[in-house]
Symmetry: C2
Subunit: 202 residues, 2 copies
């Protein structure tokens, strides 16, 4: 008997569809599907219902691009948040990590990725025109570049900083600082972080 | 502004629900959700629809316990498959891996796991009573124990072999053999596989 006649179609289709998600290969997709089927049946339904609600209700904020369940996100539409500070991040989850601190009172701008030539992602694939538009419109006091502290995040930051310096002569542009991670050991710190942590000493 | 007021509920709920899936912690669940939201919107809907269909239609075969979209699976209900051979595996995906070879013509028995005292999984949590029932009913010529080639799979195999020997004196019980993996190098083989591969030489 041919394998296709034996293997349940709903499992095959679910595995195939999960491989459409970035970073999920066939192995990761199978693992997801079979582990999902290990969950007791009420919880399985709950999981799928929350995913259904997720894909139905989440979109990108028309202003900053963050993932939100509103047309304009809770941050952009809050009059207490100052549009004089724009924090530029790669992805929504970066902004939400900063939000968790409950200290930043400005707004965000989500690039939707980082410049990664090896993956074919260039500046044109990021939400940079919209950033320039927003700077034009809101005339912020400061733009904080908070791309990730790695090679691609650095390259993206440098690209944007150069562009902004050229177009907005008096704009204050800052970059989040490197340093030692809280709870880490100097002994095991990488050289760049240690060096930056000494340079940026207060 | 409190983080809960800013963080979209559908994202929060989706991450929380995914952590109900075995092996998914908060990090893996976040990664799944945010990567899902990177998928273009038609594909997102397709993914969730296939998952909906998966959890609605897939159940355990009332006979062998394999994951199937029928009451009795395609294997058990096929008159060309011999119930005189029962291959005992830990999980449905193990049986489907064997099915992919399109060589085995007997039936399966899915244990639903393996004995793992450290995770609190004991023999009582596995479908062993049902296996005894099926052996009683079908009087197979051979029971093939195909639990995984690792410590827990071995312990589970040994437990079942001992039990079957006690209850069914004339039953032929076999264990899948260890050996070198196809495409591997003797130089890098682990000792157990190499030893077994010499022992089991034909």
């Amino acid at each position: 008997m041919a394998f296709e006649d034996v293997f349940p179609k709903p499992i095959k289709e679910a595995i195939e569809s999960i491989t459409k998600i970035p970073t999920y290969g066939e192995r990761g997709a199978s693992r997801f599907v079979y582990n999902l089927l290990k969950v007791p049946s009420e919880d399985r339904t709950l999981i799928v219902d929350t995913l259904q609600n997720l894909v139905k209700s989440i979109k990108n904020c028309s202003e900053c691009g963050i993932l939100t369940d509103r047309d304009v996100c809770a941050i952009c539409s809050d009059s207490k948040r100052s549009k004089k500070f724009i924090c530029v991040v790669e992805e929504s989850q970066d902004a939400y990590a900063i939000e968790k601190l409950e200290r930043y009172t400005g707004v965000y701008h989500i690039l939707g990725g980082r410049i990664a030539p090896l993956e074919g992602i260039s500046a044109q694939d990021l939400s940079i025109d919209k950033l320039l538009e927003r700077i034009e419109k809101y005339k912020p006091k400061e733009v904080i570049i908070a791309t990730n502290p790695n090679v691609e995040g650095e390259a993206t930051a440098n690209y944007i900083i150069k562009l902004l310096r050229k177009q907005f002569h008096h704009l204050k542009i800052t970059r989040i600082s490197y340093g030692l991670q809280f709870g880490s050991f100097i002994e095991f710190a990488d050289e760049i972080s240690l060096e930056k942590s000494l340079e940026n000493r207060k």
